[in-house]
């Protein structure tokens, strides 16, 4: 037995010893750990996860101890951080970024008694891995409606982070909703290849504004695109992940707010009372995981149209992806009246018809 296998075995043994108490009979005390891709002070995505953590902490008080690590890089370091948490006595570990997917599977396989919860992913290789996500694309339909009605140049923009299904479905939903109210609308996409780089996000927004784009949606984590939009009168944008209310009433005219608190409370609660099961959760506007922030600074008819889309999604009468919809290359995707199946959305790797430019693979 060389040193590495010795250490791995020791690690495994320790993990088992620490987590041995977690079983179907419930627990008296849960240590819940959170892994964040960005800083909790980003004012956006990671901030909202941390708000969820704080909500869970307040809800359970002494029965739950929460720990988090921020700024964890997506890559080799992820597995190291997860292993450290598992050895540190965590009972449930929430990994909150898509890029943590493979590391989550890898570490979860080594620690079968610890629960892993991976946000926005689709892999559940072992029974102790659950996935959770929110239907952010529903919020994008609300934003797209506003974008289509408010643009004067008919040029709207979308700052994407990485070309993953999560982002691609947001772009398609945004575009389809805008096109529904404004057939002449033209969409420009910038791939920033980062979740968090305020200077780059600001530059991306600036490049769009200089080329006449006047409504900018961002799928990155900071408020920089809004700060840039604020410099040019007439340009509007949206709060992403968090309300970003500092930019009310304009340029931020509404927002998609990730509300993770109820989910975290439900999952930790299930672990405490012994009802925990592996799940694949994907909720949206209806159950409150996706909140639409207050609509400000818009004409009444635009506001009413946006609210109608929001309420339609909530009561099930409106689906952002309802056929007929073709893919960008003209091939058929959804037939007349057909709603997109979840499987198609979760693996989405194409633009819908009408979006110009290539989607990077």
């Amino acid at each position: 037995m060389n040193r590495r296998t010795l250490m791995a075995t020791a690690a495994l043994g320790l993990g088992l010893a620490f987590s041995g108490g977690a079983n179907a009979a419930g627990m008296d005390h849960v240590k819940a750990c959170f892994v964040y891709v960005g800083p909790v002070g980003d004012g956006g995505y990671t901030y909202q996860h941390d708000q969820g953590r704080i909500a869970a902490q307040e809800h359970f008080g002494d029965k739950v101890e929460t720990v988090f690590q921020e700024n964890v890089p997506e890559g080799a370091d992820t597995a190291r951080v997860l292993t450290q948490m598992a050895l540190g006595g965590c009972n449930i570990i929430f990994t909150t970024s898509f890029g943590f997917m493979d590391a989550t599977q890898e570490v979860a396989a080594k620690f079968p008694n610890i629960k892993f919860e991976h946000a926005t992913g689709f892999k559940r290789d072992t029974p102790n891995v659950s996935t959770y996500n929110a239907r952010f694309y529903e919020g994008r339909a609300v934003q797209g409606t506003i974008a289509g009605m408010m643009t004067k140049s008919n040029k709207i923009g979308y700052i994407g982070s990485f070309p993953i299904p999560e982002v691609v479905m947001g772009i398609n939903s945004y575009y389809l909703a805008a096109k529904k109210v404004n057939p002449d609308v033209d969409l420009s996409v910038i791939w920033a290849y980062t979740w968090f780089d305020p200077a780059k996000e600001a530059d991306a927004a600036k490049a769009m504004i200089e080329q006449g784009v006047d409504v900018i949606a961002a799928h990155t984590d900071s408020t920089a695109p809004l700060a840039e939009a604020a410099k040019t009168p007439g340009v509007i944008g949206f709060g992403q992940a968090s309300d970003m209310s500092a930019y009310k009433p304009t340029p931020r005219v509404t927002s998609i707010i990730d509300n993770w608190g109820p989910y975290y409370i439900a999952r930790i609660g299930a672990l405490l009372d012994g009802t925990y099961e592996q799940t694949d959760s994907w909720e949206g506007i209806k159950s409150g995981e996706v909140e639409i922030g207050e609509i400000t600074g818009l004409p009444d008819d635009v506001k009413a149209a946006a609210e109608k889309v929001r309420d339609g999604i909530a009561d099930g009468s409106y689906h952002p992806f309802t056929g007929p919809i073709n893919k960008q290359d003209g091939s058929a995707w959804l037939a007349e009246g057909q709603d997109a199946p979840d499987g198609d959305l979760l693996s989405m790797d194409f633009y819908v018809e009408g979006i110009k430019g290539d989607l990077p693979k």
């Binding site: 700024n71 910038i190 791939w191 530059d203 700060a227």
Partner: protein
């Protein structure tokens, strides 16, 4: 593809703004390195300047005081480096790296209560009718004061290093500290002052990021700009005007690649995204290929510690 949307005048104006932080940090580091000190803590000093400048501007309501606060805090952080390397003779590379890590952590701590706040706006310099000249007006006369200040600083550093006795002394200390010491110059004191100038410029560059370019505070706002500044000093082969060219080249490609994406140029965005870094590396390789350290113009005593007893 629709390139008609890209207005060259607007593009040049944007790249001038995008280049200011790295240009300031690089010109400061150039002076530090000219005096023979390698300070790898530029990133740390920049981000401390970013948060302290931001806090000062928000609390006082004055962007000017914010910039001063950023410069002072960058210089203050560099004093730690100066004491460790010049007085206590610590290794410069290791200390510089530690300074970066320390600055990133400390800025995050100071910035806790300042997320989501808007700083007081920095206005444009009023040039009156000059700003309305087509093309030239947009490029030259529609900027905030710091764009002009940064170019003025580059000019001043060039003039001081080239024409003044002070510049000669700084260069002498950087080329051969033994000889400068023998001539009676206070090597340690001169180097500490050069380090502080480098820190002040990095802090100023950081403050520009958080007060004008982004403008807000967010953790990790510099996102590697300090490292690019270090590369630009080598790229410029320790010549001030080339720092300006290097910063404009890097800033220009960064801005251009985003504009090309908006214009839907059929080049995969992965390549566009990496282009500023790739071009920086290529230029660095070309600059340093087949020639010795002296031809590169590197200060001969760069990175070497000095103690008067030796």
């Amino acid at each position: 593809m629709d390139l008609s949307g890209i207005n060259p005048a607007v593009l040049i104006a944007s790249l001038m703004v995008a280049s200011v932080p790295i240009m300031l940090a690089a010109i400061g580091e150039l002076v530090t390195e000219k005096s023979g000190v390698l300070n790898l803590g530029v990133e740390g000093m920049m981000i401390i300047g970013a948060i302290c400048g931001f806090v000062t501007a928000v609390e006082t309501g004055s962007p000017l005081l914010g910039f001063i606060g950023g410069a002072v805090s960058g210089a203050a952080l560099s004093v730690i480096f100066a004491v460790l390397t010049q007085v206590l003779q610590a290794n410069q590379v290791a200390t510089g790296l530690a300074l970066t890590l320390f600055g990133l952590g400390l800025s995050s701590l100071i910035g806790q209560g300042y997320v989501g706040i808007k700083p007081p706006p920095t206005g444009m310099v009023p040039f009156g009718p000059l700003a309305d000249i087509p093309v030239i007006g947009r490029i030259l006369f529609k900027h905030d004061p710091m764009v002009y200040v940064s170019i003025a600083i580059v000019a001043a550093v060039w003039a001081v290093l080239k024409f003044t006795r002070m510049g000669l002394i700084i260069r002498a200390v950087g080329e051969s500290h033994e000889a400068a010491h023998a001539l009676g110059y206070k090597v340690t004191r001169i180097r500490i002052l050069a380090i502080m100038f480098g820190g002040a410029m990095a802090g100023l560059g950081g403050a520009y990021l958080s007060l004008v370019r982004v403008p807000q505070w967010a953790d990790g706002i510099t996102a590697g700009a300090g490292w690019i500044a270090l590369a630009i000093v080598v790229f410029a082969s320790w010549r001030p005007w080339r720092v300006l060219i290097g910063a404009y080249l890097f800033g220009g490609i960064s801005v251009l690649q985003l504009n090309l994406q908006v214009a839907k140029v059929p080049i995969p965005p992965e390549y566009l995204s990496m282009s500023p870094y790739v071009i920086t590396i290529i230029v660095l390789v070309i600059m340093s290929s087949g020639r010795g350290r002296s031809a590169m113009n590197a200060p001969a005593a760069l990175g070497q510690n000095f103690h008067a007893s030796r």
